[in-house]
């Protein structure tokens, strides 16, 4: 049997380290959220990319999807695009612009900051967005990406 060797850090210091790591990853990894009535716990990566590319406009139950995003230059948006979708914010913008200015699609709704994001997603049926994990509360449904 192989067990990891006991960590020799003092317990307190390792606690601080874990807290630091958690704080950092919360910042680096926003969480996908939806309006509670959407009734889903998870969504595929493919669907998530299509939804945020404004190319999948309805939920599996047929209801309209409403997409909320933070400004292109916000850290949370950048990290959402890169870490969750594996896309650069510029690529998302290019896709939106191309559809928006050729009449083949609409732009996502931009919100000013995470507080407004939470408020909009919590109060708009069919809404989807993202938040830093420390801002999640029970007004929104967390979606995991599978």
């Amino acid at each position: 049997m192989l067990y990891p060797r006991p960590i020799s850090f003092p317990k307190r210091l390792s606690g601080v380290l874990i807290a630091l790591i958690c704080a950092f990853s919360a910042y680096a990894d926003p969480v996908l959220i939806a309006h509670p009535a959407v009734g889903m716990r998870d969504v595929s990566l493919n669907s998530t990319r299509l939804i945020f590319s404004m190319q999948l406009a309805q939920w599996p139950d047929g209801g309209p999807v409403r997409v909320y995003v933070l400004p292109d230059d916000s850290e949370v948006h950048r990290s959402f695009a890169k870490d969750l979708l594996s896309l650069y914010p510029r690529q998302l913008r290019r896709v939106w612009d191309r559809q928006l200015y050729s009449g083949t699609g609409q732009a996502p709704e931009a919100v000013a900051d995470p507080v407004e994001m939470r408020q909009k997603v919590a109060n708009t049926p069919g809404a989807i967005g993202y938040l830093p994990s420390e801002m999640i509360d029970d007004t929104v449904q967390v979606l995991s990406i599978r």
Binding site: L50, L56, A57, Q58, R66, D72, Y88, S102, G103, Q106
Partner: protein, 396 residues
């Protein structure tokens, strides 16, 4: 002008209002727009006005409205006013006005049809070519995206079918359109060489097709697109040429690679043109137009981008020096009017996400694609010329 735009938007909204049903329907309506103002200074020749003295006759204004009536039905329209030297005076035109019906939309595929005036998805840039934010430079490479006959390939009135297939690696999409393309005097002058008494009109319906593959991470884009256009010319009694038809097939192969801080883009275009029925003066002008470019861009900072491009284009790929074509005019048109090769460097500064400034410099050999309307005497054009341009653009 402003009241005209407002009127257009009001009309569009009035058009869609009978189908409004939900209480929160205003959430389904979006209004966006853009405005750009340019400045052009050339060492010689004219491009977008009296550019040899410095011209500001380059203004683009657009406003669009869209209404998502149901998750599968989108209504959209855009008004465009474009002032470009002697070619376009800024009169507002309907850029597109369509109903997009997505018949099926799943995480695996989507297909549907657009009815009305839709933009032709040609090359990487045609469908949003008048929106400065979506262009790689102040002016698109003229060897492929000629300004002179832009309206011919800009949009079509008819039907456009589309389908998309999604898999783990990427998206394959196919568009197929059938419709009539708008024709203006610029088309007549550039194809027939003069504004005759008779008129050029759209003949058989144009066919537009594009196949595109984009990798899931958005890094690679490959596309092949084409427009087949037929024009008919009805000669007036005094015209020195007879009534005839012009057939052209404009096709573009495109590839683009995008990394986090840089991108490389290449496009190649050919356009075989056939003249029939005009009589010997015109019928032997059949040729294949050719154009291509290689472009690189690099993000110096998140808001500052360099772009460098080399482009070449020829009115006849079998006479790239233009000597035979010049000889055919008895030397009236110099050889350098049949090709254009240029280097361009540019800088884009995104002052805010909705306000952008650009500056560019271009070194040209040859004068092909310079509008005949702005340079009526071919022998008076200068073969080697340079161009400096500035652009400010705002969008909402």
């Amino acid at each position: 002008m402003a009241s005209c735009l407002q009127g257009g938007v009001a009309a569009l909204l009035a058009l869609v209002s009978p189908v409004l049903h939900a209480d929160d329907w205003t959430d389904d309506i979006q209004v966006h727009g853009f405005m750009s103002q340019g400045f052009v200074k050339t060492t010689d020749n004219r491009f977008f006005g009296d550019s040899d003295d410095g011209s500001t006759e380059f203004t683009e204004l657009g406003i669009n409205a869209s209404f998502r009536a149901t998750p599968s039905v989108l209504l959209s329209g855009q008004l465009l006013s474009r002032r470009a030297g002697d070619m376009y005076d800024g009169s507002p035109v309907i850029d597109y006005a369509l109903v997009d019906w997505t018949i099926s939309n799943t995480p695996e595929h989507a297909y549907g049809v657009m009815i009305g005036r839709s933009k032709n998805p040609l090359g990487l840039y045609n469908d949003t070519r008048d929106v400065a934010f979506t262009r790689p430079s102040i002016f698109l490479p003229q060897q492929i995206y000629f300004d002179q006959v832009r309206n011919l390939i800009l949009s079509a009135d008819g039907l456009q079918f589309y389908g998309r297939l999604y898999d783990e690696q990427g998206t394959f999409s196919l568009n197929l359109g059938v419709g009539s393309s708008p024709v203006d005097e610029n088309v007549e002058i550039s194809f027939l060489g003069s504004d005759y008494g008779g008129d050029v009109e759209s003949g058989d319906p144009a066919i537009i097709a594009r196949g595109e593959y984009e990798t899931r991470d958005g890094a690679w884009r490959f596309s092949l697109s084409a427009a087949k256009v037929n024009l008919s010319f009805d000669a007036a009694p005094a015209d020195p040429i007879g009534s005839g038809e012009i057939d052209l097939l404009y096709w573009i192969a495109s590839v683009q690679y995008t990394a986090e801080r840089w991108s490389l883009t290449a496009e190649y275009m050919e356009e075989p043109i056939e003249f029939n029925g005009f009589g010997p003066l015109v019928d032997n002008r059949d040729s294949t137009v050719q154009g291509y470019y290689l472009q690189g861009s690099y993000l110096l900072r998140d808001d500052l981008e360099w772009v460098v491009r080399y482009s070449e284009g020829f009115t006849d790929k079998d006479d790239r020096e233009g000597t035979q074509q010049s000889a055919a005019t008895g030397g009236f048109v110099p050889p350098h009017a049949f090709y254009r090769k240029d280097w361009m460097v540019g800088l884009r500064w995104d002052v805010t996400p909705s306000f952008m400034l650009r500056a560019e410099y271009q070194w040209n050999d040859g004068t092909w694609t310079l509008p005949r309307r702005e340079n009526p005497v071919p022998s008076a054009t200068v073969q080697d010329w340079e161009m400096f341009s500035l652009l400010a653009s705002y969008r909402f």
